[in-house]
Symmetry: C2
Subunit: 408 residues, 2 copies
């Protein structure tokens, strides 16, 4: 049994770093605040007797020795970077639930057969830098370390520079090849309304939607909003607006298991009386079926072509993230289900609409996830909230599933 | 006859202050660069024997005494602030054409009956601060000095603070009541394609389109782009995109003498995998007929209502600029036409799609404008360009019209 009050207390302490006025957290990946959050976790993990390893993309691995340290570790974890308007639980819960599992085993004087590890994956959110799920993506070979290190934020700072600046550029690349993982579990808030609507405490996650992300650039021509006749304009924002609506329509056409969102838009020169000359924007597509995701890709490209031609702008579409729908390992999913059942918790099977580090880990080891409800299904919002009792229940399921995998 | 080479040379010197890589100028109102541009003009005007007065909104008046200094001055001028992606000629031409008129009269040893003034009006562009045409608006009582001084840019700096910072907060409010103007002429590039298409050198400006500008705020709800079902979203950018397209449609419905533009848009939190929670945007409407402008206003409000309801967002619409279509004074328009004709220049009557300080001056004194062509009709763009010969021709028309009004 874990200590729910201690878990809650740790969550609230970590949430102070980057706390926002509206009760949320803004701790973007690899900022100074992210560095402070990492330092706090490392201190706590050392106090819990763990050894610490940092790899070349800044992933943190906190290890608790097992009786047989030659076995691959049973790993849990998540991320502590947040959205600009993020909450206290997204990611942070998975990391601190792992810490609470180790603290509880320490209290009980129990050592598992296989070692246990907590991983804090770098830049899961994908808000400051793409690709999203960067640390776990490098670890599992989804893309290269070099590709990840070279990415830049809107202000031009690279991942490599940001890692150096906060002191989390580790010496070597950890990868699943050189450091195999025995099994991976990740506890997370659901970030959607399904558990709450069904009044269940534990989501037994069967897999996650596939994703395709894009960067679009629409190049028109700046001109004066007054004397320039309507029919001579090359207004990049008109094309962008049509595409925003098309992205939404494409997702609706593939209901119910597809999503389409334009989260980022930047119009230039952004002056009230100037016809917009250039728009940069993102597109985020998700689907439960890879064929649907491919169809959405084709429909997006056709929509961009149509708008570009109609509005006389040049358009470029670059795909910056792709992963197919990812099913989790049936035997580990069953272990999560069994633990929930054994503890008498209301549970249901569920599919994740969000990407998680677990999606990449599932490529290299048996993987499963544990969801708990969040208030009104709201996440990526400062008002994100969760019940202490639900967080405690999810952590107990994690404890039982990890110990079962590691050998009690 | 004015000295076309000297006029061109002054234009090129002023254009160095805030010069951009693409050959344009970025000298936003009341920035340090605007201060440097003002200093250069003041030095030149003093060298040409003018006395200088700065008023409380930062308008600069450079005065050349007349034979009868009790007469109200014959004034010309324009502005030297630019768009973020502005050109070398918009505004600057009108100010430096005025200076060239005075330099030429000095060379010829001619003194007019009435005094002559060059006005450099503060923040005509309306890009950094609204209302647009701010200095002339205060001077003519279109809105109050207090209202103008209190406006803030996107970073929160007020007009009052910015004026202090560059040393152009003059002691007293100049207004047309206390300092009456005998007549006002303004030379400007056309900023549209009409003169070029008709192969004419001088546009005899009969008046300007009316304008209504708005600030819109659409408040939805940030949420996660993955797990949040499409039908539960309150996506502010979807509503904004519909409104962008409606603004365009409304203008097209009132063709050919209506314009509609969304030049500014800001989406929050602007993160790729977050459903946009809030969008702020501008709307710029123009029309030749005030009744049409009112109809467009009503259509905008209806469109915003529809999108807000459909997308479950809250919407606010604030009108931040309004002036009706403004005809110029027939006798001064005729003086411009006569001067063009006398000088054997190809001319045509034209309506201004842009607002100009002359639009406000026309409320307090007889007013007219002189347009010259600009390359491909492009303005509010760094590639804005104009022919030296056309600029010289426009300045000669200005000279003749001013001397005729002031008494030779
Ligand atoms: N869990 C989570 O918020 N991940 C961010 C990546 C995504 O947008 O799915
Ligand atoms: N002339 C000019 O560019 N004025 C700016 C005000 C407007 O947008 O009409």
């Amino acid at each position: 049994r874990i200590d729910g009050a201690r878990l809650w207390d740790s969550l609230m302490q970590l949430a102070r770093i980057g706390a926002t006025e509206k009760g949320g957290v803004c701790r973007l990946a690899l900022t100074e605040l992210d560095g402070q959050g990492r330092d706090l976790f490392v201190r706590w993990a050392k106090e819990a007797g763990c050894s610490i390893r940092i790899d070349a993309i800044g992933n943190i691995f906190a290890r608790r020795a097992g009786r047989d340290d030659s076995l691959p570790p049973i790993t849990t974890g998540s991320h502590i970077d947040t959205q600009p308007t993020g909450g206290k639980f997204d990611g942070n819960y998975g990391v601190l639930a792992g810490l609470e599992v180790i603290r509880s085993l320490n209290d009980a004087g129990l050592v598992t057969q296989a070692p246990l590890e907590i991983a804090v994956w770098t830049n899961e959110e994908g808000s400051r830098f793409v690709p999203v799920m960067m640390g776990s993506g490098v670890f599992t070979g989804a893309f290269t370390l070099e590709h990840a290190l070279a990415q830049r934020d809107q202000s031009g700072t690279s991942v490599a520079e940001a890692l150096q600046a906060i002191g989390y550029a580790g010496p070597a690349l950890a990868s699943a090849d050189v450091s195999p993982v025995g099994a991976y579990f990740e506890a997370h808030i659901e970030q959607g309304p399904v558990l709450e609507a069904n009044r269940q405490v534990i989501g037994v996650v069967e897999g996650a939607l596939g994703q395709r992300w894009y960067d679009l650039v629409l190049q028109g021509m700046e001109a004066h909003a007054g004397p320039t006749p309507m029919e001579l304009r090359r207004d990049a924002l008109l094309a962008a607006s049509e595409i925003v609506l098309e992205v939404n329509r494409i997702a609706l056409d593939h209901a119910p298991h597809a999503r389409g969102t334009v989260g980022f838009i930047d119009s230039y020169p952004n002056s009230r009386n100037v016809i917009p000359g250039r728009v940069r924007m993102s597109v985020d597509f998700r689907a439960a079926d890879d064929a649907v995701l491919s169809a959405m890709d084709a429909e997006l490209k056709a929509a961009v072509q149509r708008s570009a031609a109609a509005r006389k702008v040049e358009a470029s579409v670059e795909q910056v993230v792709y992963f197919p729908p990812q099913p989790f390992a049936p035997e580990l999913v069953a272990a999560v289900r069994d633990a929930a059942q054994a503890q008498g918790l209301g549970w249901m099977d569920i599919v994740s609409g969000a990407g998680h580090d677990a999606v990449y880990l599932a490529r290299v080891c048996p993987t499963a996830m544990i969801f708990v409800p969040c208030l009104d299904g709201i996440s990526h919002n400062e008002i994100e909230d969760a019940e202490p009792a639900h967080l405690e229940a999810g952590c107990n399921v994690l404890l039982q599933a990890m110990v079962a995998s590691a050998g009690g």
